[in-house]
Structure formats: C-alpha cells, structure tokens
Symmetry: C2
Subunit: 143 residues, 2 copies
DNA sequence: CTTTCTGCAAACTCTTTGCACTCGT
DNA sequence: ACGAGTGCAAAGAGTTTGCAGAAAG
C-alpha cells in the first residue's frame, strides 16, 4: 500500500503547511477548491488523516469546536480565543517535561501530550474592557 | 429560572461525583437507569451541562473519543491509555503556571487550561512487552 | 494493467432540540 | 397553578465509509 502523489494530496499538504490560522477540514476544503474545484470533503478528511499519520500535519482538538489542522511540526502548545476563535501557537512549556518523567517512573508510557489554554486574546480582551466598540462575535479573525 | 431538585439531576450528580472512572454520558445514563429506569440520554446531557455550569462536574474532552465527566473538582491533568481507554487523574503540574503568567504579560487572559497525556498505562505496557498473554482490546477496564 | 485514490452520497457517532406531558415548589 | 424539567424521537454537526469510475505508477 504505497501512497500516490495526487494533486489533491499535494494541494492539501501545501495549504496546511503554509496556513497560519489553523484551518478546519472545511476551510481546507474551500481553499483547496480554488485549485482543484471538484475536490470533496471526504477526500480532504482522508488526506488529512494520511498526512497526520506521516507526521506531516498536526491535529489540534479543541473542546466543542471542529478539529483544526496545523502545519507547525515541532511540539508546541496552543491558545484558543473563545471570543474570536483564533488559535495561537505557543512555544512548548519545557516545564511539562518533568511531568513526563514522573509518569515514566510510575510505569506510564507517554506517546503524546496536548496542552491548550482557553481564554481571550489581547485584541478581544481590549474590546471587552471598552465594551463600546467592535461586534460581539468573530471579530478580527481572517479568512 | 431557578434550578429544581429533580430525581434525575440528583442521581446524575451523585453518579459522577462518586465514579472514579470518568464515565461518558452514555455510561452515566446506563448507571442512572438502575435508579431511574426511564431516564433518557437527552436528560443526562442536559443535566451534565447544568452541573458543569455550576462547576459541580468537570468535563474531560479527549481526542476522537466521547467526552467524559469527572467529579474531581480541583484543577488537575489527565492521562488517557490509548489501549484500554482508562483515564487517570494527575496532580496538576504546577509548572504550567509560568506559562500562564507569560501569557498574561503578553495580553492574553486565560480562563482554563487542559493538559492531557496520551499513551499506555502500566498494565497495558506490560502486556505489550510480553505479547503472549492478555487480549488485544479493552483489557482490564472496569464497568 | 493493477491498485490506490477520488467524488458522491449515504451512514455513523455524539450531542442538541422541539414538543407535549410531568412534577417540584 | 405555574413553569422548569422530562422522555422521546427527530434534527444537527462533524466525520467516516461503500462504491463505481478516474488516474498514478
């Protein structure tokens, strides 16, 4: 079962690798259609899964929201703004490591870890503090 | 809109508060039926949501698996065994805090954080090392 | 030519919701 | 009696899958 280089796979890979906004599968699909008009959401999911297995994209699971995909391949953490939906990459807290080795000594084997912070991004915080301006929802998030 | 003390709500609360296995909504429903036979899954979801809002239960979101509910009210982290599905509570890495204040200084406001480790629990690790014994799946998980 | 991949639509899983009825207060 | 809560079944969102035909190697 060797993986074939299809236009769909290449397109999806490039989109996720160069996007900086952690798109959802549906957003990846929309963007991919600009280049492969008849691409289907099923194909997008299948290829994202394949890329994940090959460690060419990372998956970001967020509580209650659709899964998002990330081209940043180094281990890192995330911040989700619950107001505008923006996801920021955070340098990994090297402090999580001690926990890792504590688990190891207790007999656990850790394959992966996910640390996500939930709250308000600086922009949204500002508009909350000055309740006068800016719409309540999906404020300044691109695409 | 004042909350009423119904038999369903009390039952669900008690089940989650005393369970140590992080049951899913469906498991909570099954267990609740032993006491309230006609309780429905919809009611379970509605009440779990209510309890969550009142901070009487915690929600544990796991990648790709149904959401689980936790009666442990202090902040803590989780370990998911990807083989048997068991979830362990971990004392919170106080090390996550530095990250918290770094974010604060950058203008973010953190409302919550979730740190989950994924891997093998000691029991499952042992059976992987000695591939001879023990079934491949849902090994030693209770209920 | 063989085998993987694709588009499409249907299926699935988990969760939420509308509605008429029930039960706390 | 009033209105929040319930059971039920249907709807919803997100994701997966079966299949016949397309295309990579």
């Amino acid at each position: 079962m060797k993986t074939r280089r299809t236009r769909q796979l290449a397109t999806i890979h490039e989109i996720v690798a160069t996007a900086h906004d952690h798109p959802t599968a549906e957003q990846v699909c929309d963007r991919a259609r600009r280049r492969v008009p008849r691409i289907s959401l099923g194909t997008v999911y299948r290829n994202l899964q394949k890329l994940e297995e090959q460690q060419q994209v990372r998956v970001v699971h967020l509580h209650d929201r659709p899964t998002r995909y990330d081209g940043m391949l180094q281990e890192h953490d995330h911040f989700l703004c619950e107001r505008c939906g923006m996801v920021a990459d955070l340098a990994q807290s090297r402090e999580a490591r001690p926990n890792w080795s504590r688990l190891y000594r207790a007999g656990y084997r850790v394959r992966a870890q996910a640390l996500t912070f939930y709250g308000l991004c600086p922009q949204c915080r500002r508009s909350e503090e000055r309740p006068s301006r800016a719409g309540r929802d999906s404020a300044h998030q691109q695409d």
